[in-house]
């Protein structure tokens, strides 16, 4: 089975992200593979192990995003493709979906596309579903478990939703997004890291995809740091836990938040 894992590069989750002069700044924090996309790579590799085939990691981003693809290679994907073009600097989720769909069509013969549930930067989680819609493929979102029936050409997932789990089935090709229950992402192996460091990652431009830059439908007008919420904490003390609890309960009740 030919599987694509879509990934993105984002500032590390530990970064102190700030708005500076209308731009997002993450100081000297590293750029890393989006943590949710490590689960996508893990889910894709599990399917390859179960049914055979290949996994290709696909990423839209600047030249530096090759580092995120190298992480996927080190985890064990077979190859990687970067889509990079100055025209893609301001795309929104629908734009990204159209570009990813074009790349998936160009790769050809793809049976499953795996995404992480959302990215840490924008966080809207729209792109996986929109890619499925552009391709006209079924979307199986928020999968905690994937089972492919290669003979029947179908895939069944257990979706993790607010209310519990929903079992949904579809014909391949299909788009799947995964949640953490898919399993802890494997660590890059020593061999994988060596392979990744030597890998030549092809870069596709918009003209390679035979398309133009999609105009963003959503534009940012302002970027704001959240209001500071540092508050002077009042530490509750007392002779005994019961007395501390008594005092704290009275304070909370007096705030009328219950």
């Amino acid at each position: 089975m030919k599987i694509i894992a879509c990934i993105k590069q984002v500032p590390d989750s530990e970064a102190k992200v700030r708005a500076e002069g209308g731009q997002v700044s993450w100081g000297d924090a590293p750029l890393v593979i989006n943590p949710f996309d490590e689960y996508a790579v893990e889910g894709a590799l599990q399917q390859k192990e179960a049914t055979g085939g290949t996994v290709t990691a696909l990423c839209i981003g600047p030249e530096s995003a090759k580092e995120a693809l190298k992480h996927a290679l080190a985890m064990g994907v077979d190859d990687a493709i970067l889509v990079s073009d100055p025209g893609l600097n301001n795309i929104d989720s629908v734009g990204a979906a159209r570009i990813l769909a074009a790349a998936i069509q160009k790769i050809g013969g793809v049976e499953m596309v795996v995404f992480g549930r959302q990215t840490l930067d924008n966080g809207s989680g729209l792109t996986p579903t929109q890619t499925a819609r552009v391709l006209g493929w079924p979307m199986l979102g928020l999968a905690g478990q994937i089972k492919v029936d290669a003979a029947a050409g179908s895939v069944q997932v257990e979706r993790v939703i607010e209310e519990g789990r929903q079992i949904v089935k579809a014909k391949l090709p299909a788009v799947v997004s995964v949640v953490q229950s898919i399993g802890e992402p494997r660590y890059p192996s020593f061999m994988g890291i060596r392979k990744a460091s030597k890998a030549e990652i092809p870069v596709w431009s918009l003209s390679d995809l035979g398309t133009s830059a999609p105009a963003p439908l959503v534009t940012r007008t302002e970027l704001m740091n959240p209001p500071s919420r540092e508050s002077k904490v009042e530490i509750i003390t007392g002779e005994s836990p019961a007395q501390i609890a008594e005092k704290l309960a009275d304070k909370i009740l007096a705030e009328k938040v219950l």
Binding site: G123, E163, S231
Partner: protein, 337 residues
């Protein structure tokens, strides 16, 4: 402004944040509620009660189970023929999906997780958190209709009026499906974090109760998880007395103490309770961002230097295994439970 509001539901049970969306729509003028499903008359009634002037009802057995593609096609067909300016949704796993698909059909896009919506003339400006709520952005969409999902508890819930009715217009369901629903296992969810007015959360610290002796035969990891589960029982008892939900830090979730669905912060689960009690949570940057919209934070931690105290109104420097049960008892007494 012609505004539609989608009433989200699971098996006919409306998501309360749908009413908040209806309340916001009413501030712009008349509001039309969209109800999709099968046998959903109760929701139609409730939509009128919460302020809908009209309900567009797609009642079809093919819509009994939510599926992204059928709900999306039903929505985009409606929007194409009726040309609303704005469609509001509560943010749920379902709306995030099918609104996204409908946007592709409508050559528009969705703005998710709105915490504020300002309308001036034809322009709609939406405030939303990004980078795990470390930043906020204001955005505007150029497509029509604009599709906006609202974050739970960011907008006031309107009062329900008894016996209010309005026009019900039946609309066609689009039933071309690419997926089939094979079954459900519905969890004992209790109060959802998104809708919770009160959240009591546990962190990595819940597994450190030195006075507990795990049952024989467990390896170290199993013993740690067993201890953590005893710790979360205490957290759960306090939440239950207060009628709140149980949350957890990423560290507690990653350590396997409690399911991912309970995680606050990082997954975009930004919560906005009136009261947030953090037990044994040190306060990693993502966690602090995730609870920024809480009205009041109370921290219980044995480390007086833990960052959580910087955002707390009240704090107790002490052992959560002693303080949390004592607090549960104190509230039981004071609330007459």
């Amino acid at each position: 402004m012609k505004t539609f509001v989608y009433i989200d539901h699971f098996k006919g049970e409306a998501q309360p944040a749908s009413w908040e969306a209806l309340g916001l729509a009413k501030t712009f003028g008349e509001a039309t509620a969209l109800v999709f499903g099968s046998g959903v008359d109760e929701m139609v009634k409730a939509a009128f009660g919460y302020g809908a002037d009209e309900v567009l009802l797609a009642d079809d057995s093919a819509l009994l189970d939510y599926r992204a593609e059928t709900y999306a096609s039903t929505l985009s067909a409606l929007a194409s023929s009726l040309s609303p300016d704005l469609i509001l949704f509560p943010t749920t796993t379902r709306t995030r999906e099918f609104a996204a698909m409908a946007a592709v059909d409508l050559n528009s896009n969705v703005i998710t997780d709105a915490t504020a919506v300002e309308v001036s003339g034809d322009t709609i400006l939406v405030t939303r958190p990004i980078y795990e709520a470390k930043l906020f952005e204001k955005v505007t969409a150029s497509g029509k209709p604009q599709l906006i999902t609202l974050r739970g508890r960011a907008f006031p819930k309107p009062e329900q009026q008894e016996g209010k009715t309005g026009t019900i217009t039946k609309v066609d369901a689009k039933t071309d499906a690419l997926t089939s629903v094979e079954g459900y296992s519905v969890a004992e969810v209790g109060v959802s974090l998104n809708d919770a007015g009160i959240i009591v959360s546990g962190g990595r610290g819940v597994s450190n109760n030195p006075s507990l002796q795990p049952p024989a035969g467990l390896d170290d990891k199993q013993a740690e998880i067993w201890k953590a589960q005893q710790g979360f029982k205490l957290v759960g008892e306090l939440a239950s007395v207060l009628g709140g939900a149980v949350g957890a830090s990423r560290a507690a979730v990653d350590a396997g103490y409690i399911p991912y669905s309970n995680q606050v912060g990082q997954t975009g689960k930004v919560v906005a309770p009136d009261l947030y009690i953090a037990a044994g949570i040190s306060g990693a940057i993502q966690h602090l961002a995730g609870i920024r919209s809480a009205k009041m934070v109370v921290a219980i931690n044995k480390d007086a230097d833990a960052p959580i105290f910087k955002v707390a109104r009240y704090g107790v420097v002490g052992d959560l295994f002693v303080i949390v049960p004592a607090l549960t008892e104190a509230f039981k007494k004071k609330l007459g439970k």
